[in-house]
C-alpha cells in the first residue's frame, strides 16, 4: 500500500523549513514513529540543509522546482505504510500550467494525491489584512486547485469515493502576537478559517445533511506549529507588501507539533481505506444473507456462496491488519489537530 502526500503552499510560507524539520524528526523517530527513506542519499539530502540551519543558523534556500521522494512509515519498528512525499516551490501554485512545468506537475499531483498538506504562515494570517493574507498564503489559488481537481469532480458525481484529506499547517506560530496564542490559539483558528474560507465552506457544505456526497471523505484539520520553538526566533521586520517578515534565529531550534499534520494525513488515509473495506464487508454480508435465505440458491450456487465467504474472510483479515496501525497513528495525531469546521 502506498499513499501520496503533496505538500504545497504560497511562496515564503515555510514549506522548505517545515519539510526539513519533519524529515529530521521522523528520521530519528518521535512518539514511536519513524520514517525510512528509499535510500541513504535521500535522507542525507534533507539532513544537510537541516544541519546548516541548526549549526550555522542559516535559513534554508528557497525551494526551486519540485522534489519527490519515497519513504516507509514505521511505528515501534513495525511497518505501517509506504508513502511518496512531493514538495513544491511556492510559485507552482500561482502560475498557469502553460507557463511552468512545476505548475503542470502540481495539478497532476493534486489529482493523484490521497492527502494534501497546505503550509501557511500564521504570522501573515494574524498580522495582515484578510485580503493580503489570502494573496500571500495563496489561499484563493489553493482553493481553486482543490476545487478543480477534487471538489468539483466529486460534485459532478465522478470519483465520489476518492475524497481527500487536507491538513493545514500554520507555521511560525512561535512569533505570533500574544492575543493569537491565548485560549489555545482560538483567535488564530478563527482568522485561518476566514483566510481559507473557500476550503472551509466546501468541507462544511459537504457535511450538511442535504448533501448527496459523502462528507466524511473530506476530513480537514489544522494545527499551529513552530520549527524553532517558543522564544528562539525574533521578528526583525514585520514585512510589508510582498515583503514577508524577516526573522532571526536566536537559539538552537526545537521543533514543536511538526509531525502531527503528517501523521494526521497518513492516519486518515488508512482509516479511509478501512472505511471502504468495512463497506465492502457489509456488502458481501448482505449478498451472503440473501443467498443463504434461498434454499434453491444454496444448491445451485454453492460455489458462488463459497467464493463470497472467502472474499469476506479476506476483507476481514485486511481490516484486522489495518486496525492497530490506524489506532497507532490517529490516537497520536487527531487529538492535536483542530477541525477546520468550527464545532
Amino acid at each position: 500500500m502506498s499513499l501520496k502526500i503533496t505538500l504545497f503552499g504560497g511562496s515564503g510560507q515555510g514549506k522548505t523549513t517545515y519539510t526539513l524539520a519533519l524529515l529530521y524528526l521522523m528520521a530519528t523517530g518521535i512518539e514511536g514513529f519513524r520514517i525510512e527513506a528509499e535510500d541513504a542519499n535521500t535522507a542525507t539530502k534533507y539532513l544537510n540543509p537541516w544541519r546548516d540551519f541548526v549549526i550555522a543558523r542559516r535559513w534554508p534556500a528557497p525551494t526551486m522546482g519540485r522534489r519527490e521522494d519515497r519513504f516507509r512509515l514505521l511505528f515501534n519498528n513495525e511497518y505501517i505504510t509506504d508513502f511518496r512525499w512531493v514538495d513544491y516551490q511556492g510559485g507552482a501554485v500561482n502560475l498557469p500550467t502553460d507557463e511552468s512545468d512545476e505548475a503542470a506537475q502540481l495539478h497532476a499531483d493534486i489529482q493523484e494525491s490521497n492527502a494534501v498538506i497546505i503550509v501557511a504562515d500564521s504570522y501573515v494570517i494574524a498580522t495582515r489584512p484578510t485580503m493580503e493574507a489570502e494573496m500571500l498564503t495563496s489561499s484563493t489559488y489553493i482553493f481553486n486547485l482543490l476545487n478543480t481537481y477534487k471538489f468539483k469532480e466529486a460534485a459532478r458525481g465522478e470519483g465520489v469515493h476518492s475524497g481527500i484529506t487536507t491538513a493545514l499547517v500554520l507555521t511560525k506560530a512561535d512569533v505570533l502576537p500574544d492575543e493569537f496564542k491565548q485560549n489555545n490559539y482560538q483567535a488564530l483558528f478563527e482568522r485561518s478559517r476566514e483566510v481559507f474560507r473557500g476550503v472551509v465552506d466546501f468541507v462544511e457544505e459537504q457535511r450538511a445533511r442535504t448533501s448527496s456526497l459523502r462528507p466524511w471523505l473530506y476530513p480537514a484539520a489544522m494545527i499551529p506549529v513552530s520549527i524553532v520553538g517558543e522564544g528562539n526566533a525574533a521578528v526583525l521586520s514585520p514585512g510589508q507588501g510582498y515583503d514577508l517578515a524577516t526573522m532571526s534565529l536566536e537559539n538552537t531550534p526545537q521543533p514543536v507539533n511538526v509531525h502531527y499534520p503528517f501523521l494526521y494525513a497518513i492516519g486518515n488515509e488508512l482509516d479511509r481505506t478501512a472505511l471502504y473495506l468495512e463497506e465492502q464487508e457489509a456488502d458481501l454480508e448482505a449478498r451472503l444473507a440473501r443467498m443463504n435465505r434461498n434454499v434453491l440458491n444454496k444448491i445451485l450456487r454453492g460455489r458462488t456462496v463459497g467464493q463470497l465467504y472467502e472474499e469476506r474472510q479476506r476483507v476481514a483479515e485486511k481490516l484486522q491488519t489495518l486496525e492497530p496501525k490506524i489506532r497507532a497513528v490517529t490516537a497520536v495525531a487527531n487529538k492535536k489537530m483542530r477541525s477546520l469546521i468550527p464545532a
Binding site: A61, G65, Q254, R338
Partner: protein, 333 residues
C-alpha cells in the same frame, strides 16, 4: 553565429521564474534546471565574483551558466541566481573553442542580470539573439598547471571523469583543459553537489569534469564506479576557496571573531534543559473537544444523526406477509 541568454531567479513578487529564456528552451527543461539546482542547498560560498560554473547540453542548446547567492533576500533568505548563455547544439564545436575565454570573462558575458535595475518590475521574456563576441584567447590568464593529469585525462576520457578542487587552482586547471585542442566538447560542473549531478543525470545530462564543494585534490574517477583511478598525490592546495572567510575549511586567520561562537554539545543540552515546557503554549496545545475525527468516525456520526426510517406495515398486513414470503423465495429482500 549568435547566442541567447537566460536569467532564472526570483523576486519578492514572483517565485523562481525564467525571467529571460532562450526561445526554444521548454518549460520542462527549465524545470529540470530548477530541480537540479534545488539540490545545492548551501549557496553561501557562491558570489557573483566567485560563482559555481556549469556547462552542459539540454534540449536544443548547450548552456554555460553561473550560480550564486545574490545580495537580494526574500523572507530573510538570500535569493539564488542562475544566469548565462545558451548556444544551439549545432554550434557547439565553435562554442567549445571560445569556452576558456567565456569563463575568464564570466562577469561580463554571463552577467545577464547586470542590465536589470528593478527585479520586482521584471516580467518573463524571451532572449534576443546576441552577435557572437570577439573572443581573444590572449585575455585568458595562462595557467601554470601540472600536465600529467591532463595527459592522463586525454587517454581516459571515455572511462573517467576529472575531479577538480573548488578553488583558484581548480579553476585554472579547468580553463587549461578547456583550451587544450586534444579534447572534444567538454561539459563540467564546477562548484556543485552529488545530489545536483544525480538530478541532472535524471534528465540525461552528464558532465566530464566535476568539482564538488568538498573536493580537495585533482583526481580521475571512474564514470561507472566513481572510484579513484588516478590522483595527483603531490598536489598541495595553493589557493584557498573563494571567498575564503565563509569557508568551513578556512584557515584560523580567516575566522570571523565577531561571529557568535558555536555552542558545545553540553552548552546546547543545558540550553535545552533550561527551557520550561510550561512556557511554551505550543507544547501545551491540545485540540480538546474540537479534535479532528477520522473518516469512519465522521461517517458514524453522520449515520447517527440521520432520522430513524419509519417501519413499514409489511409485517402487519396479509399482503405484506405474502410479499415477504415471495421475496424470500426469490432471494430478494
Amino acid at each position: 553565429m549568435y547566442y541567447e541568454t537566460f536569467l532564472f531567479t526570483r523576486s519578492r513578487r514572483r517565485d523562481f521564474t525564467a525571467f529571460v529564456r532562450p526561445r526554444d528552451l521548454t518549460n520542462r527543461e527549465v524545470s529540470a534546471i530548477a530541480a537540479a539546482f534545488n539540490a545545492v542547498s548551501d549557496t553561501s560560498l557562491l558570489t557573483p565574483a566567485w560563482p559555481a560554473l556549469y556547462c552542459f547540453p539540454l534540449g536544443s542548446y548547450v548552456l554555460l551558466l553561473r550560480h550564486y547567492a545574490s545580495a537580494r533576500t526574500h523572507a530573510g533568505r538570500s535569493i539564488p541566481t542562475l544566469e548565462g548563455i545558451a548556444v544551439r547544439r549545432t554550434q557547439a564545436r565553435h562554442f567549445a573553442l571560445a569556452l576558456p575565454y567565456f569563463l575568464a570573462q564570466h562577469d561580463t558575458i554571463l552577467n545577464v542580470s547586470k542590465d536589470v535595475t528593478d527585479f520586482e518590475a521584471l516580467e518573463a521574456a524571451t532572449s534576443a539573439e546576441h552577435p557572437w563576441p570577439e573572443t581573444d584567447l590572449q585575455d585568458v590568464p595562462a595557467a601554470d598547471v601540472d600536465s600529467s593529469l591532463i595527459e592522463a585525462f586525454v587517454t581516459r576520457l571515455a572511462d573517467d571523469r576529472l575531479f577538480l578542487p573548488f578553488n583558484a587552482d581548480g579553476l585554472a586547471l579547468l580553463r587549461a583543459i578547456l583550451a587544450d585542442r586534444r579534447f572534444p566538447s567538454l561539459y563540467f560542473a564546477f562548484g556543485t553537489t552529488a545530489a545536483a549531478l544525480e538530478r541532472l543525470s535524471h534528465d540525461d545530462v552528464q558532465v566530464d569534469i566535476v568539482s564538488y564543494f568538498n573536493t580537495l585534490r585533482p583526481a580521475l574517477r571512474s564514470r561507472a564506479t566513481n572510484e579513484i583511478t588516478s590522483e595527483l598525490t603531490d598536489y598541495i592546495p595553493s589557493a584557498p576557496p573563494q571567498p575564503p572567510p565563509a569557508s568551513p575549511q578556512g584557515t584560523p586567520d580567516q575566522v570571523d571573531e565577531d561571529a557568535a561562537p558555536l555552542l558545545t554539545p553540553r552548552q546546547m543540552r543545558a540550553e535545552y534543559i533550561q527551557r520550561d515546557p510550561a512556557d511554551d503554549p505550543l507544547a501545551q496545545y491540545e485540540a480538546g473537544e474540537d479534535a479532528a475525527l477520522t473518516p469512519r468516525e465522521l461517517a458514524r456520526r453522520a449515520r447517527a444523526d440521520q432520522p430513524e426510517t419509519p417501519a413499514g406495515d409489511d409485517g402487519r398486513s396479509l399482503l405484506g406477509w405474502l410479499g415477504g414470503v415471495l421475496a424470500r423465495l426469490l432471494g430478494r429482500r
